[in-house]
Structures are given as structure tokens and as C-alpha cells.
């Protein structure tokens, strides 16, 4: 009977986690026209992961999203962001000058849109990966202590 204690919690969490993920991507891709942006979307993604680990246990979450993946994601995010700057420099512009991405004259907006979307993806990766790494570091340590001491 012990495993049944949190059944309602599990069922509700199973319904909620996909909604949270969809909301995170909504916030991410509507950042240009609405409130929020990549920072908030990254936090919401990390919160979905935390909810999963609170309800289903840290081990299940670490199997689904391994810790090496979150920290690699964080580093890749910063690299993607910085890479857009280098891309602009290779085209002869200043660092992070989106206007230079497609060598547009002033008033052209393709480079701005592409640059903003790519750097927001980088921010999403960095924030969600970084916060998940922090959570894994804290929560993983608790489980370790609990197993040995209690």
C-alpha cells in the first residue's frame, strides 16, 4: 500500500508536465510578441524537470534527463550565443551585430529576427541546463546523505 500514497499526485503531475513543457516553448517562441522570453522559458523547463523529480523520484528523472546532458546543454547554450557574435564578426560586422548576419542594409530585419531567435535558443539552453544542474547537484547530494545516514 505504500506505493499508492501519491497516486493522485502522480496522475496530476503526468497531466501537468506536458502542459508546462508546452507553455515553456510557447513563452520561448512568442518572446518577440509577448511577455517573457528565453530566460523565463528556461526556468519553466527546469521547473517541469523538478516537478518530475519531486513526484517520480530523482532516479527516474536522472534516467530520463541525465546530468551530463543538462550541464552540456548549459555550455552549448553559451556557445550558441557567443557563436552568433562570431558569425557576425566573420561577415565583417561588430560582435553580435545582427544586421551583419546576412549582410543586410539598415532597415532589413532578417538578420535581426534570425539573430534574436538563435540567441534566445542559446539562452534557453543555458538557463534550463544550468538550473537543472544546480537542482541535480543539490538533490543528488541529499539522496546520497539520506542513504548513508538514515
Amino acid at each position: 500500500m505504500k506505493g499508492d500514497h501519491h497516486m493522485i499526485l502522480r496522475v496530476i503531475a503526468k497531466c501537468l508536465i506536458p502542459l508546462i513543457l508546452i507553455y515553456a516553448f510557447y513563452v520561448q517562441f512568442h518572446g518577440e510578441v509577448g511577455a517573457g522570453g528565453a530566460f523565463q522559458a528556461g526556468v519553466v523547463l527546469a521547473v517541469a524537470l523538478i516537478l518530475h523529480s519531486l513526484v517520480f523520484g530523482l532516479t527516474a528523472t536522472m534516467r530520463a534527463v541525465p546530468p551530463w546532458f543538462t550541464r552540456a546543454l548549459s555550455a552549448v547554450g553559451v556557445l550558441v550565443y557567443a557563436g552568433v557574435g562570431v558569425w557576425a564578426m566573420l561577415n565583417g560586422g561588430a560582435y553580435l551585430e545582427y544586421q551583419a548576419l546576412f549582410l543586410e542594409p539598415p532597415g532589413g530585419h532578417d538578420g535581426q529576427h534570425a539573430g534574436i531567435i538563435i540567441i534566445e535558443l542559446g539562452v534557453l539552453f543555458a538557463v534550463s541546463g544550468g538550473l537543472s544542474t544546480i537542482f541535480y547537484a543539490l538533490a543528488g547530494r541529499v539522496a546520497e546523505i539520506r542513504d548513508e545516514d538514515w
Binding site: K2, G3, R10, G31, E32, V33, G34, G36, G37, F39, Q40, V43, V44, A46, V47, I50, L54, F56, G57, L58, T59, A60, M62, A64, P67, W68, S74, A75, G77, V78, Y81, A82, G85, Y95, L96, Y98, H109, Q112, G115, I116, I119, E120, G122, V123, A126, V127, G129, G130, L131, T133, I134, F135, A137, L138, A139, G140, R141, V142, E144, I145
Partner: protein, 210 residues
Amino acid sequence: MTDAVLGGTGTALINILLLAILFVVAIAIARLRSLFAIVMLSGVYSLVSAAWYILVDAVDVGFTEAAVGAGMSTAVLLGAMLLTARTAKPEKPFSRLGPFIVCLAVGVMLIYATIDLPALGDPTSPANAGVGLTFLQVNWYDTGVPNVVTSVLASYRGFDTLGETAVVFTAGLAVALLLGFGERSLAETLRRSPQPETRPPSVPRDGDAT
């Protein structure tokens, strides 16, 4: 006319209500000793202040406060709390006197400073009349992004945002370097128990992936 007056009164009432809740929660946090209750109340504090930010039209700030303050940092603080004791140590009498005086002095100074602040939404305030107005005027030609917050964050101040992203990455890296990546517990659990011993095998699987 009456609509405007009633609307203003309603907003003022909600303002007062939210700020009163904030005040009560802050007092409760200061007086409680149980760390679990304090962590939960700080989440409540963040959520109420997020509602208040949205009331004063700072939607992005409110959103961030709700996601980071109420969601993320509550979870992280809970994880950190599990690493330490569950209750704070009892204090000696009068040990709060110094912090109380400091808080009182800072509060009085802040209230004194608000006298000079422009009214909410004042079009002639420096924030609305100076560089903010310039951004609103040139944004559409420069970037073609409808949300000025996004274009300022990502385009005009791309360097700032790159720095913030690097800060988040560095924070994750620092915590992981200090506390370990959390993989030892995973390896430990996987090695020792293919079936977790807390759950009898008769219980049907619930997607736990164990």
C-alpha cells in the same frame, strides 16, 4: 468619470491588499523558526509580489518573479534545506535589536526617497521621456520586433544578455563543482537497487521507469 474613479479605487484596494499580504508574510518569515515553513512562505512572498508587479504593469518582471522566485528558488531552497537542520537555532533576547534598527532606518530612508519619485505611468518621468522613448521610436525601423522588451534585451543590449547567460552558466558550474554533479547518488541507486526496496513488487508499475 465614475468608471475611472471606481477603477482607480479598485486598483488601489488590490494594491493595499497585496502589500498587506506581503507585510504579513514578511513578519511571519521573520518570526518563524521552522525552515520548511520559511521556504514555503518565501515562495508565497514571491508569488504575491509577482501579482503586484503585474498590477503595476511590469509584466515581464512579474513573470520572471513568478517563475524564478516562486518556482525555481523555492525548489532549490528546499533542496538546500534538506542538507542542513530543519529548524533555526533559537535566538538570544535583544539580538534582533540591531537588525531591527537597521531595517527601520532603511525603511524610513526609502519612504523619504519615494517622495521624489514620479507618479506611476507619468509620461514626463525620466524613464519614459529619455532613452525609453527613443527606443520606442527607433525600434520598429531597427529591428522589426514588436516587443520592445525583447529587442532591447536581445539586440540593443546583446552584450548584457550574453553576460547574464554566462552568469547563469557559471552559477550552475560553480554549484556543480562545489556539490558534485549529483551523479554519485544516481550511480549508487542504480547499482544497488534495480527495484527500489521501498516499494513492494506487488504494486503495479506507474511509469516510474524503475
